[in-house]
């Protein structure tokens, strides 16, 4: 816990929190990291396989094969989410299944599924970006800032 947050607590609260923390099971960080590595690695290897497939059997090169590869991964992720399997993979794999594009697809599919009962417009439409929304907002915003910095550096005669 941060020291600022702790400062707002009374001594009794601080004492209790130390007492409680000593009796709580900790997150198994090392095990989580290893599992995330395996899960994330598997997803990326699968993606690489799909990309090679598109390059070998279809008329794609390394650059253009990216789009259909992502589309296939998203399709797989959404299918697994709809079958109720993705959350089990995620409980095991943690960040390994959350960080790749499959995790992003899962946030949108799961929110849409949950809010289907409130109708297509207000339910699915209004809630599908509940978790993915912030990612898009801050992703676009950071890209914008980076682009401006890049333009300034280039116009000043940089790389």
């Amino acid at each position: 816990m941060s020291s600022i947050k702790r400062k707002n607590l009374t001594p009794v609260q601080q004492q209790y929190q130390d007492f409680a923390r000593a009796r709580e099971p900790q997150r198994p960080i090392i095990r989580n990291c290893i599992r995330a590595f395996i899960t994330g690695g598997t997803i990326c290897t699968l993606g690489q396989g799909i990309q090679l497939f598109f390059m070998t059997y279809f008329n794609f090169d390394e650059k253009t094969a990216g789009d259909p590869t992502v589309a296939v991964l998203i399709l797989i992720s959404v299918t697994l989410t709809s079958l109720g399997l993705y959350d089990h993979i995620a409980q095991w794999g943690g960040a390994g299944s959350a960080v790749p594009v499959t995790g992003f697809a899962n946030t949108i599919a799961s929110a849409s599924l949950d809010h289907k009962s409130e109708g297509l417009v207000l339910g699915v439409g209004g809630n599908m970006f509940k978790i993915a929304g912030p990612v898009i907002v801050f992703g676009v915003f950071s890209a914008f800032i980076v682009a401006i910095i890049s333009v300034i550096i280039t116009s000043l005669g940089g790389v």
Binding site: Q13, E24, P25, D87, Q91, N106, T107, D114, S117, I131
Partner: protein
């Protein structure tokens, strides 16, 4: 009658003449499966939404409890109920179906015991012959309401708890056969500054301890008075903290006497993290398993302390800490 600072003694000892527990598929695989009146293989119950499914659970629990009590719903004067969904709609909509005068209550996961204390008070004071108390919770509906979408892939820590899908109900009456409610202790709201909704056990344990201590102080009895002291849904983490905290405060309850509904509900190999939670956890464990044990005379006196975390998804996002409450009820045969 008020006893001590915050406890009630029910002189007429209202009788629980009928009680029912309804569960979902995950509860059917659990430890207490044989104590449920009805177990469903599907969490949807043929409804269009999780919320409607939860209402169906509660309706079935209430109808079964009334039937087991040998009554008709016209014989029940008041219905007290609460749940975890916004504006307690499963409870209100069940009250619409039952058409019994209704008092909606909210005490998060402590709602069942809050309802049982109030129903006992209404019956004891002669304001009703029969009162019905019910509560429900639904795993998917709670996930949707409090956390992430149900199918969202987020990794939960070992301190998290699993919301029970089901409902429990009981009919409290002036006359009849069955376990009797003898006293109740209403808890204070305790906030120890914890703010992690994935660690409710640690947040709620101090509230449970405060109410247990108040109960023994007000009634001037000691833990040996009871055969079983069961806390609400503290789970493994909160149960351990509460046990140690009670010992630290000088109240020694033997390990075999102190248990927790969140631990009793599921088997060791079920992936429920620290244990069960939700309104239905205490409700189905008490109104099903524990009352059945009393009817079999395995237990003579028991104390149930239901704990509730009084947070909302908004209060959590606004960085508020989690206030918790616990209410206790003593039942004997």
């Amino acid at each position: 009658m008020l006893q001590g600072h915050q406890s009630w003694i029910f002189k007429s000892k209202p009788v629980i003449i009928g009680s029912a527990a309804i569960g979902g598929p995950f509860e059917a695989q659990g430890n207490l499966a044989k104590d449920f009146d009805l177990l469903h293989g599907d969490i949807w119950l043929g409804q269009d939404s999780y919320e409607q499914a939860e209402k169906k659970f509660l309706e079935q629990a209430c109808e079964t409890a009334i039937k087991k009590a040998g009554l008709k719903k016209e014989d029940v004067q008041f219905f007290l109920s609460g749940d975890l969904i916004n504006q307690i709609i499963p409870s209100s909509f069940t009250a619409r179906t039952l058409a019994v005068p209704f008092l909606g209550i909210y005490g998060a996961c402590s709602s069942s015991i809050e309802g049982l204390s109030l129903a006992s008070m209404i019956v004891d004071s002669g304001f009703a012959q029969n009162a019905l108390v019910g509560t429900s919770s639904h795993n998917a509906a709670s996930e949707k309401q409090y956390r992430y979408p149900t199918e969202y892939g987020a990794q939960k820590p070992p301190t998290a708890q699993w919301t029970v899908t089901g409902a429990g109900a009981a009919v409290v009456a002036q006359q009849g056969q069955g376990p009797r409610v003898v006293s109740a202790t209403i808890g204070r709201v305790i906030d120890m500054g914890l703010s992690d909704p994935f660690n409710m056990g640690a947040a709620m344990a101090p509230a449970a301890v405060d109410t247990i201590e108040a109960h023994f102080r007000d009634l001037n009895i000691d833990p040996s008075h009871y055969d079983l002291i069961a806390t609400g849904d503290l789970g493994k983490v909160g149960h351990r903290i509460a046990g140690d905290l009670l010992t630290k405060h000088g109240l020694n309850i033997p390990v075999e006497k102190l248990t927790d509904c969140g631990i009793l509900m599921y088997k060791e190999d079920q992936p429920v993290f620290a244990g069960g939670s939700g309104c239905a956890c205490v409700a189905t464990t008490t109104f099903g398993h524990l009352l059945n044990r009393m009817r079999r005379r395995e237990l003579k006196r028991m104390l149930i302390i239901a704990t509730g975390a009084l947070l909302s998804p908004m209060s959590y996002q606004q960085k508020e800490t989690i206030p918790c409450v616990a209410h206790a009820v003593a039942i004997e045969v």
